[in-house]
Structures are given as structure tokens and as C-alpha cells.
């Protein structure tokens, strides 16, 4: 039992590193403010997670904690709500979706739902962006690096301002 707990703990530590570190929510919220047209007022963002997936749930909790009662992003104020993988059909109700780590197998479904609902998907998992399944990837260490998938953005009909795109890496 103790051995299993230790293994689970190690897995919890290792998986986020493999899938990308914790999402920098402050940067993610600011990314939303560079959407065209810019969001205004209260903006609901989905936290896409998988119940029972320890890595995903931990990331979701971390995002919720960072957002708190809401984060200002330009003229918008971003609030979050958890959306389990099983409810991706509701993703179209959101302007943005923070895709938690540990959802590699679910990414095709998330991408399809985001494309249907014109939702910008933001993640710390660079592989999701490399595979054109997430629109924006954010890494924070040693410094902020933002990657935008042109194909994923086009599929989700998401547009950013040109000044923003000139500062990020577009793939």
C-alpha cells in the first residue's frame, strides 16, 4: 500500500513535467485579452479536466486557485468553471478553455469541440500545440514563451492582434 502511494506520488510529480509544467494562469488570462475582437466584461473560461486523472485534477485546482474570484485581462474579467471531458459539448459556451495537463489522449476531442465552438484553447502542454490540437501553449521557465498553432487557431476561427503574434512563436 505504502509502495503504491509512493509510486502514485512520483507519478504525480513526473507527469506534469512530461506534459508541460503548471499553466501560468496570469499569462494565460492576458493572452485572452489579445484576442480579436478583444473580450469585454465578464468572460467565462472553461477548465477542461478529466475526473479521476490526478494530474489533470491537480492542474485544474491550481488554475482555480490562481484565478480566484476572477482575473482582469484588458477590459475583460476572466472567471473559470470546470468542464469535464465528458461534457465537451458545452465548450461552445466559453470564449476560452484552459486545457489541463495529462490529457494527451483526449486532445483530439478537445480540439474538435474547440473548433466547433470557436474557443481558444490554452495549455502548458507544448505537445498539444505542436500537434495543432491546442491554439496557445505557454511555458514560464526560465522565461515566458508563448507558442501559437496557426492551424489550430484557424480551425477554431480564433484571431489575435498582429503585435501579439509578432512577439510569440507561431507554428
Amino acid at each position: 500500500m505504502r509502495k503504491r502511494n509512493l509510486l502514485g506520488g512520483l507519478l504525480l510529480l513526473a507527469l506534469p513535467w512530461q506534459a508541460g509544467a503548471e499553466l501560468n494562469v496570469q499569462v494565460a488570462a492576458r493572452v485572452v485579452s489579445f484576442l480579436q475582437p478583444p473580450p469585454n466584461g465578464a468572460v467565462q473560461a472553461a477548465i477542461v479536466f478529466q475526473p479521476g486523472n490526478a494530474v489533470s485534477e491537480a492542474d485544474a485546482t491550481s488554475i482555480e486557485r490562481a484565478i480566484g474570484g476572477g482575473v482582469a485581462a484588458g477590459r475583460a474579467s476572466i472567471r473559470t468553471r470546470r468542464v469535464p471531458i465528458s461534457s465537451l459539448g458545452t465548450l461552445g459556451n466559453y470564449r476560452a478553455a484552459f486545457v489541463t495537463a495529462g490529457l494527451r489522449d483526449e486532445q483530439p476531442g478537445i480540439a474538435a469541440a474547440a473548433a466547433r465552438g470557436s474557443v481558444v484553447t490554452i495549455t502548458s502542454d507544448q505537445a498539444c500545440v505542436q500537434a495543432a490540437r491546442c491554439v496557445v501553449g505557454i511555458s514560464s521557465t526560465p522565461r515566458v514563451q508563448i507558442t501559437v498553432s496557426r492551424a489550430a487557431a484557424r480551425a477554431a476561427n480564433v484571431r489575435f492582434g498582429s503585435a501579439f503574434l509578432m512577439l510569440v512563436k507561431e507554428i
Binding site: V27, R30, F34, R143, R159, G161, F164, K169, E170
Partner: protein, 661 residues
Amino acid sequence: MAAAQTVDYSALAELMGEPVTTSVIGKPQRASELPASAVIITREQIARSPARDIPGLLQTYSGIDVNRWTAGQSDVAVRGGVQTYNARLLVLVDGRQVYLDHYGMTNWNLLGVALEDIQQIELIRGPASALFGFNAASGVVNIITRRSSDKASLTASAELGGHDYSRVAGALQLPISEQIGVKLSAGRLREDERAIRAPLLAPEMVPDVQSDHVAGSVTGRFDQTEVTLDGGYAENRQAEYLPSQYISNQHYRIGHASAGLKHDTDWGGLSFGAYANWLRADYGLSEAAPTRDVDNTAATKFANRIIVAQGSALIRLDGNNTLRVGAEYRNNRLRSPAQFSQTVSYDVGSANLMADLHPAEAITVTLAGRLDRLSLSQSGVIVQPAFDAPSAFDRDLTRFSFNAATVIRMGETGQLRLNGGRGYQLPPLADFGLRIPIQTPSPVPVFIAGRPETRPVPVWSAEVGYNRAIGEVRLETTAFWTRTEDAIATPGDGLQLDLVLTPAPLLVSRIRAVGSYTTYGAEAAVSGRYGPLSWRANYRYTHTDQTLPPITAPAPFALSPKSTTPRHKANLELGYDAGRWYATAIGRYTSSTRQFAFTTAPQLLLTPVNEAVALDARAGFKVHPGLELFAAGENLTLAGGAAVSPIPADRRVRGGLRVSL
């Protein structure tokens, strides 16, 4: 403000975790990825600095020499070439030139911008003519004011200090609707001149420094388009050392009007703008009897008007490669009774191209070129006796400027940079047509005069730099080389005279190209933060070789960068932020120099200026989130050489309040 998404420096800096600039190649770039050596001073740094003006802020960064010739007159030089009325640094406020073309100088008390309204100050070291054209010969300072916001805000300061110092300045932002915002700013400064003691020549009266400005802008953002209308007026009176190093009192008034349009597209952005600056400058104010008021009736008057229209397109070729295409037209006109004819003017047509390419993951190559074609002319009544044929002013000049850079990323946070270029310093309008009689014992009349044949001064530059961040510590090192050819100088003492028969004999001493000089050296800067403590240190070594006229008395020209540029400069800044209160202290070391000045004899001499360790400090306490009380002092150690001027520096202490609502 709604929709349009042009460059919002504040939002982009918050996003990327570091300042963002467009001043190097015209596209937004992170400070840590620039293909040139640059300084970006943020709004937060300005608010906590002991400095009370832009030269004071710039002087604590490596590679930048600031000479505070008088209490009001400062010159900023990049990597050597120190001289009064420095014509080698282009200074812009939101892209509009505030560099004054009549004499090729920047009057830092006439910028028409309040420190409280500044978002960030960007200084690019080295020639940047390929983007900005003539006069960005040794560098560019671009002052970015705050972008209009959808929230009403007021930032203002009121200060009082020794030497009859007083300053009130502020900026008010008022959103009119979702799309339209108005910004108003104003400022008023008064302070006494420093004591000018014999044997230095001093004007018969030395008035206090006065500087006032008002400015306003209206910005509208509609969908993906931003439109800005801007206007302002500024006035300044101060004692100054002229390029000849003769000291006199000047009065400046300048107005401007500008309009700009930026449009964001899926492939990049379009930018169009036009502006006009109107300058009236009175040189040689005297004291009116019996009122003892400052009198300009005997002053030499100049009226300079510049009109600029420019457009550019920034095109994203693919994910990471960018192309910028631009064109510009400018008309520059100087009217004065103290020149060849009533009006001397030129038109410049320019085209520029910049490519920012990423041939490999870790490599960035930037190439920029600009072609300027200038047509010089004169018109109106020719002042007699004339020393030049009118046809000498009918000249066309074509010059090509370029910048090239390769940046190689080394690891996650290291960056090696190789860059260089050639820029041009355009002769100021006065250098073409100036014509001033001077008093000498000679029975034959003597004039100081410009030369219509004067050519733009080429400035070559090469540098290699390495930047690296290690945790919270950032290291920047650069080795640089700069060569200035055909350097222009104004006659000083021991005049080199040409005999002109008009038919009566006259003696004329010309403003002319007198030689060349080369500057090389190294800069190192390190900065970091540990909890509430921030720190920053830098050092620069500069060596100058020159082939210029002799500097032994009588010196015919007041130009000797080897003598006037400090060989060593070092700065150390420590800051502590405890939330409600903060403190900033800066130590500045400048090695000894010699600076030109006329003595009471009158004779032009190189005056020794001692090495100096100056201490500046500022402490503030927030009695309310929007109200701060502060005290600040410059040169607390009373180091005479801290101003790097023949006139010794004094200590200036002030206190005041700052409101941010």
C-alpha cells in the same frame, strides 16, 4: 477602449514579463531579444528614480554620457563624441521628432512631455538611420507616452527644492466614450542657474531656468483601426553653451500638431502619420535697462518649421519572419536674418526596407536599409554681402544607411549578438547657411558662416554583445567600435579665416568638416532582484582616437571627443521596496575629462573637470494608495565634476508629492 490592437506597450510587457519595444527594427520585440544594444526605462523605474528629467534617468546606464552643461542645458551622447548641441542623437516622442533641426540639437527642457505621462523611455545605442533616417547617427531615444485608457486617471507631481526649484506636472486621461479617449498633460519648471565663476565667461545676466508645456491628444479606436490627433506647445528659457562653447541665454517656443492612423490586419499592420513642428528660437537674450527684464530685441532669431509625412507596412511573411516597408517625406525650413537668405530649406524623400528573418531555430538575421534623397535650396532676399553663390544651395544629396544584425540564441537564456551599420548625421540647417558677424579687433569685418557644400557625416558602427539571464540576475556585455568621418565643427577661437572680396574685403570663418575620430570600448551591466531588494550595476570603458585640429590655445574648433569623453564610467543602483515605502540610491562615477569653455579673456580653453563620485537618492512613503510623499536629492556628495561641465555641479535637493488616481 474597444477593439483596435496596435502596440500596447504596457499590456505586452505584462504578458511577456519584460519590456517590449518597436524602436530597433519597427516590429514589437522583447527587450531580451533585441538585435541591438538598448536601454528601456519603465514607468515604475521612472517613478522611483531620484532623477527629475530624462537626461538624469539616462545617465545611470552604461554607454551613455550626459553632460549637464548648465542647470537647464544637457546633452546626451552615446558611446563617446561628447560635444555641446549633440547632433548625433535622434530624440522622438511617440515617433515624432523633438530633435531641433535648426542647430541639430535636443533641448531636453523643450520636449513638451511630462515624466508623469511616460510609459517607457527607449534608447538604442549605435546608428539606427536605416529605420529612423538622418540624425540617428549614434543612437535613438524614443519616449513612449501612456496609451489612452478606458479608465479616467490622473498622475501628477508637485515638487519644491533648493536653488528655487519648483515643478508641477501631470497627465490626465479622460475616456469620452467606449471608442474615444482624451489625454491632457502640462508642466511648469523653475530653478536657478548654477554659479558660473571666473575665469569662465558668463552672460551679463543669468536668468533662472524656465520650462512650461501643455499638450493634448484624442485617440479613437474603431474595430481594428486607431486614430490619434495630438498637439502641444512648449516654452523654455535657459543659459546654454553654443557649439562654439560661447555661453549665452536662449528662449525657445515650439508648437506641434500631428495625426496618426494605425490599422491592424491579419498579415501585419499599416501605419500612417504626419506632423509639423514650429520652432522659434531667440539666441543671445540680454538684460533690458532699466527694468532688468530679459530682453530679446537684440537676440538672433530663428524660425524653423518641419513637416513630416510617413507610412509603413509591417508584414508577417510567415510565423516568424517579418518584412517592413516604409516611405517618408519631410520638408524642413529655417528662416532667420542670420543666414545666407531669408529661407534655407530642404526636402527629403526616403524609402526603407527591413527584413527580420529566422533561418534556423536559434538564429535571427535582421537586415535594414534606407535611401534618403535630399534637395537643398534657399529663397527670399539674400543678405549682403553674400559669401556664396546662390547656386551653391541648389544641391541634391543621396545617402544609403544600413543596419545588419545576427542574433544567436545560446541555451535557454543566453544570446550572442553581432551587429553594425552606417548612419548619417545630417548637417543642421544652420551649418548650411548661417551668417553671423562677430566682434573682433580686426579692421576687416569678420563673420562666422555655414557652408552650403557641407556633407552629411557618416558614422560607422560594429559591436558584439552577449546577454544572459541566470535566475533573477541579468548580465549584458558589449564591445563596440564607432567611427565618425568628416565631423562638423563650429569655429571657436583662433579663427581659421578665408578672405572674401565682396568687393570689400571680409574675413569668414566657416563651419566645416574638420576630421574624423574613432571610439571603441566595452560595456558591462548586471542587474537583479532579491525579494524587496533590486540592484543594478554597470561599467563602460571608452577610448577615442582622433584626427582633428589642434586643441592647444587658441583652439580653432571646440571639438575634441578624446578630451571631452570620460574614459571610465560606472553606476551602482540599489532599490528597496517595502510596500508603503521605498528607497532608491544611485552612485555614479565619472573619470576626469576636459571640457571646452570660453574664459573672460575671452579665450577658448579646455577646462579640467575632476573625476566625480556622485550620490543620488530618493525615498517615498505612500500615505494613501494614490498619494506618495517623497524626498530626493542629486549629487548629495557635492562632486563638482558630476555634471561633466566646465561649470561645477552643485547639490540639488527637493521634496514633494505624487498623486496617482
